[in-house]
């Protein structure tokens, strides 16, 4: 197991967002987390690299328990790449510098090495020609691909994607999902919070359905999406897959 989440709880004030999550991800597995908004999917992801401090429970990544108060959290986070809904490229740095700065400051790579590795990953995600552009000059799809390259340049063991296509124009979603599919085919361990059901069905090994802070259903992607065993999953999927039907199950 590369990611082990056990009895994870998270409260914001009196609001309990995660209510005892158990989730294991094997090395090389692609897991999609789906569910209605407010179900706690993003909070779960953010707890896995401790951007949110869990209220209780444990998170272990690659054998290191991140929830241990004595752990070197910066060192632990190097194993975990994170891709955000809002891309979060460093707005004052060029594309190339976005990739080289963390490599140099965190991994202490030489400038030459960092640039070589950055260019390699930029070409993998198909934005090699944009290395001297500033983030604001790129389309959303290009920005998100650069953000993926930036995370990959740190050689993570697992990649977390927090709704990576949710703030993209519809015609730009495909290029980002394409990069993610390629990543999955190359054996990257991925945990993806998404509303892209086609991606979940085709690329993910497993789909986890969350609602109200608990895992409602967890199984092979084809089975969860096409033949969900729990009523709540069925209602959610029916609404997402047939948004023009007001209430298809009634």
């Amino acid at each position: 197991m590369i990611v082990e989440v056990s009895e994870l709880r998270k409260s914001f004030g009196s609001l309990e967002v995660l209510r005892g999550i158990n989730l294991d991800v094997e090395r090389g597995q692609v897991v999609c987390v789906i569910g209605p908004s407010g179900s706690g999917k993003s909070t779960l992801l953010r707890c896995i690299n401790l951007l949110e401090q869990p209220t209780s429970g444990t998170v272990t990544v690659n054998g290191v328990e991140l929830t241990d108060p004595d752990v070197d959290i910066d060192a632990a986070r190097r194993q975990i790449g994170m891709v955000f809904q809002q891309f979060n490229l460093f707005s004052h740095l060029s594309v190339l510098d976005n990739l080289t700065l963390p490599q140099r400051r965190v991994l202490r790579r030489s400038k030459g090495d960092a640039v070589d590795i950055a260019r390699h990953h930029l070409s993998i995600v198909g934005v090699a020609d944009k290395e001297s552009a500033m983030p604001a000059q790129l389309s959303g799809g290009q920005q998100q691909r650069v953000a993926i390259a930036r995370a990959l340049a740190m050689d993570p063991e697992v990649m977390l994607f927090d709704e990576p296509t949710s703030s993209l124009d519809p015609e730009l979603v495909g290029e980002v999902l394409g990069v993610m599919r390629k990543l999955a085919e190359n054996g990257m361990t991925m945990l993806v919070v998404t509303h892209e059901m086609a991606f979940a069905r085709e690329v993910a090994d497993r789909v986890v359905f969350m609602d109200h802070g608990v895992v409602v259903e967890d199984g092979p992607s084809e089975q969860v999406i096409s033949a969900p065993s729990v009523e709540r999953t069925r209602v959610f999927l029916a609404r997402v897959l047939n948004p023009t039907h007001l209430d298809p199950l009634s």
Binding site: L51, D74, M82, N88, L89, R105, V106, A151, M154
Partner: protein, 271 residues
């Protein structure tokens, strides 16, 4: 014939122009121009100020401003970080400092540093440049700290989260991500602060100095006493404007470029 609203407005505007022209004409005709010229702009007196007004006075004003700003910025950055610290004592100390020195006239601080330190420690000879740098820095740091704090807080949270998720430490994130972006955001208010500081160097007047240490205001006043003409003050004023107007223009242009991203930083009103 009844006039429409628009026609009335036209007439009213015409009347205002006529009144304005009459006032200007009256002043122009009634004034004793010879006397005004000798009082405010005596060319011989003005000529006599050169080159010292540039090579000494303007130079010293720039030096005092630069020293005060560098010290004030460094100390202000420190205070801003203390203000944002998770350690309550730091927050409180910085808060007290900022409130204290923003509430005092800059002149009082300059007097305290420039005259107080030599009084308290008669053996130490405080270099005048250092004294002014410290005094102006102490005051401007209080204002700059609030500007810098506002800038740091205006950096989007996602930038910090991205840096931390890549394994960067809080300190590295602050140095490489937050501060450079905050600096970009606060460049307009920072330039504004530089203008205010340029004018505040005139307060060094009250410390007394040798000729070589005089800045524009002191130089202007000394020449005023010698020449019995206001010309030196006018020339000194023009020298200030040579510095401050371009700076204000730069600030305005930066503000335009920053658009709505710039925070309503806690700048200083008036000089």
């Amino acid at each position: 014939m009844a006039l429409t609203k628009r026609q009335w407005a036209k007439v009213a505007r015409g009347v205002q122009y006529v009144v304005l022209v009459l006032i200007i004409l009256t002043i122009a005709l009634a004034a004793d121009w010879g006397r005004i010229q000798s009082a405010f702009f005596d060319l011989d007196v003005a000529r006599g100020m050169f080159p010292e007004v540039i090579t000494v006075a303007l130079k010293n004003t720039v030096i005092y401003t630069a020293l005060g700003f560098v010290f004030g910025f460094a100390w202000g950055l420190m205070l801003a970080l203390m203000r944002l610290s998770s350690v309550g004592v730091y927050r409180a100390l910085a808060g007290v400092y900022i409130e204290f020195f923003r509430g005092l006239p800059a002149l009082l601080v300059i007097l305290a540093v420039g005259s107080g330190i030599p009084l308290a420690f008669p053996d130490t000879s405080l270099n005048r440049y250092v004294a002014i740098m410290i005094a102006l820095g102490i005051v401007s740091a209080a204002y700059l700290a609030e500007t810098i704090r506002a800038g740091i807080q205006a950096v989007p949270r996602g930038q910090v989260e991205a840096a931390r998720s890549l394994g960067m430490s809080p300190a590295a994130t602050m140095i490489w991500i937050t501060i450079p972006q905050a600096f970009k955001i606060i460049l307009p208010p920072l330039t504004n602060e530089l203008v205010l500081l340029t004018k505040d160097t005139s307060l060094a007047l009250f410390l007394g100095s040798t000729l070589a240490q005089q800045e524009l205001t002191q130089f202007g006043r000394q020449q005023l006493n010698e020449s019995r003409s206001l010309t030196p003050v006018l020339v000194a004023g023009l020298c200030y404007l040579i510095i401050t107007i371009p700076l204000s223009q730069v600030s305005r242009r930066l503000e335009g470029r920053a658009g709505s991203v710039a925070p309503a930083a806690a700048g200083r009103g008036g000089g």
